[in-house]
């Protein structure tokens, strides 16, 4: 392979979008109202679109014969490098919005740095993504505030969701070897530097939503190294079903 480290780095970025996009896609036709259903599906499509751009680039790095679909559909669980946050289940709408919010704040910060990468391809994907993700963040933070500052029941559900998902946030800023190498040579983003700003921004929104910022210091990790939660296998079995059952099928 021409550039194994860059390939691994791209997976680190793109797998987050793929798995979160897949998670949101599961909700198509199941949103709480027609309007939110369409909004969630739009976000899913944005994420899958970004994923395609990354994978097309990654496919060119590994082998002329490989395509974006090979990368999306034919890897083993351990080879997916998404953070644990994005694979968490669609427990309820508030949970989905909390998960989205905790990711969107990170995602936008990340892309805003990635647009100054030395890699032209990544710059192009980042610039296009910034507009999409700005909207995702606006949508999800709006809902966090609405539900947090809503009825007693919605507030309680949102608080529980944030408390439950909080332990996955620290992993966003743990850097793999590939991320460290790419950050050092100016292609990747030094994400550890984003951490302080991230927690400040998240806390500001939670406070506005009249929610309590969790204080637990127990954090979990592993997704970036390919060690996933129990949910990942189910996601992949659905995601990969067609290609595994009918190899090389197209339509």
């Amino acid at each position: 392979m021409k550039n194994e480290t860059l390939y691994q780095y791209i997976l680190c970025i793109a797998d987050n979008s793929l798995i979160l996009g897949q998670r949101l896609g599961e909700l198509c036709g199941h949103g709480p109202s027609l309007e939110t259903d369409i909004a969630i599906t739009n976000i899913a499509l944005d994420l899958i679109g970004q994923t395609r751009s990354y994978y097309q680039y990654a496919a060119r790095l590994i082998d002329e014969e490989k395509t974006e679909d090979d990368i999306a559909f034919l890897r083993l669980e351990r080879e997916y490098k998404n953070v644990l946050l994005v694979e968490q289940p669609n427990t309820h709408f508030g949970y989905v919005m909390a998960r989205q919010f905790l990711f969107d704040v990170y995602h936008l910060m990340f892309l805003e740095k990635l647009q100054y990468s030395k890699d032209d391809q990544l710059v192009a994907v980042a610039k296009k993504g910034i507009k999409e993700v700005s909207y995702h963040k606006r949508f999800s933070s709006d809902w966090v505030k609405r539900l947090g500052d809503g009825t007693e029941e919605s507030r309680q559900k949102m608080q529980e969701a944030v408390d439950d998902l909080w332990r996955f946030t620290n992993e966003l800023f743990l850097m793999t070897d590939a991320e460290k190498t790419m950050a050092a040579n100016g292609i990747g983003v030094d994400i550890a530097q984003l951490k302080e700003e991230y927690y400040k921004e998240v806390s500001d929104v939670l406070k506005e939503a009249t929610l309590t910022v969790p204080e637990n210091t127990y954090f979990t990790k592993g997704g970036k190294e390919g060690i996933h939660t129990e949910h990942m296998g189910y996601i992949l079995s659905e995601l990969q079903y067609m290609q595994r059952t009918y190899p090389n099928m197209t339509w």
Partner: protein, 94 residues
């Protein structure tokens, strides 16, 4: 408390220079949500450059029963249409 969010009417300007046109309606809890929902429901295929939303209850509609007195008197007055002028081809959107 009603279970449904209030109804909103959505107007979209397709491109600069054209007027806002009624695109449809949707449900939303407030103006901000109505705007986001309108963006997602009506402009996701690049249909617009500007959105107006207004809560449906603020629209006063004419009563179909009054159609006779409101509209029929205009039917036989074709001289009120500016159809007796030659428009140059260059004039668009008239």
């Amino acid at each position: 408390m009603t279970k449904n969010w209030p109804l909103w009417e959505v107007f979209v300007r397709s491109k600069n220079g054209l007027e806002h046109r009624h695109f449809g309606s949707l449900h939303a809890a407030d103006a901000e949500m109505a705007m986001e929902n309108a963006r997602d429901v009506y402009t996701r295929r690049n249909e617009g450059v500007s959105i107006w939303v207004v809560e449906s209850k603020y629209i006063t509609a004419s009563n179909p029963q009054d159609n006779g007195e409101l509209f029929e008197p205009a039917q036989d007055k074709i001289y009120r249409h500016p159809t007796f002028y030659d428009l140059p081809d260059d004039v668009k959107h008239m």
